[in-house]
Subunit: 162 residues, 2 copies
DNA sequence: GCCCCGCGTGCAAGATTCTTGCGTGCGCAC
DNA sequence: GTGCGCACGCAAGAATCTTGCACGCGGGGC
């Protein structure tokens, strides 16, 4: 899994293509980077096995699924008790409405991307996840009115000498 | 594109499976939901054409690509000039290191997910994107020390009567 | 300098998967 | 009751994926 993933330029170009569309046939990818389908196939196999490609997933449309409101929630827990933090994280991981969550440094402990149908549902979810009895000291909701950029695409800079 | 996306339970189950792994063969998906491969295929075709499935993409490993530091940046521009905001958004969209960005309501204007190799690169990127001459009034960087949950999976609740 | 070996490649055959025309059955409106 | 629309399963053909094989290139070791 964690073998030796030093990627050459061809790997990076293939990854760039796959980050936009993972359904392109091998011969198309090969044409773009100048490789035969089987060479592409072997590189992808290696990239998948080594864990560089973690998954290939479908990206769905929020509106079609009734997600009308996204919001960024900043959360601070009542103390630094590791068990409390672990429980909090587990709860967020289990909640489908929590799309993403990061532990951060500063006056807040976590930043949470919360998806909900509307403001009412957002309130319910917030109360359930961050309200009394959840170990949350305080939280601040930043409603998103516009998605400027979304996606999980990673920057594919070559390892620039510095 | 925007036709008639009322999804039944089978659609939702298929979408749930595809959000985890979009490479499963049709017969496997069919076995899970109790449908023939061709029935699954036709549903996917419809979901893709109607835009419910926006894309199928590869999810890459941050460490393997040298992304050592993620951070959440809260940004406020100097004023509400639409042209200034448009220019700011365009700049973020064009920057690969910006993984996500949302326009938000409150004392901040935007929340940005910024990916960088290390703290030094983070500083460079911050200066370039948010520093003097960029129209940014002030910004606050919240470094992420842990990814609790990441992904773009959407909640697939059935349309519950309320 | 020459040989050997490892590694990635292209080619091609076989296996798997996808795609689609066709006929059937079910539910609903008339 | 009948007709129609819609989704389904089946099966054949097309497209794609997978892998064994031989070749060429480059880096040591002798």
């Amino acid at each position: 899994m964690r073998t030796d993933p030093d990627l050459d330029d061809l790997d990076r170009r293939l990854l760039g293509l796959l980050q936009r569309d993972a359904r392109r046939p091998l011969h198309e990818l090969g044409d773009e980077v100048g490789l035969s389908p089987s060479a592409v196939q072997r590189r992808l196999k290696r990239l998948r096995a080594s864990g560089v490609i973690r998954a290939e997933v479908a990206v769905l449309d929020q509106r079609a699924l009734g997600v009308g409101l996204g919001s960024v929630v900043l959360v601070a827990l009542v103390d630094d008790d590791p068990a409390r933090h672990a429980a909090f994280r587990d709860r967020l991981r289990a909640e489908p409405a929590v799309q993403q969550c990061f532990g951060i440094i500063g006056q807040w402990d976590y930043v949470v991307l919360l998806l909900s149908r509307d403001i009412a549902e957002n309130r319910e979810l917030s109360a359930e996840l961050f309200g009394p009895g959840t170990g949350v000291h305080r939280y601040e909701t930043l409603p998103a009115y516009e998605t400027v950029k979304s996606g999980l695409a990673l920057p594919l800079q070559p390892p620039r000498p510095r």
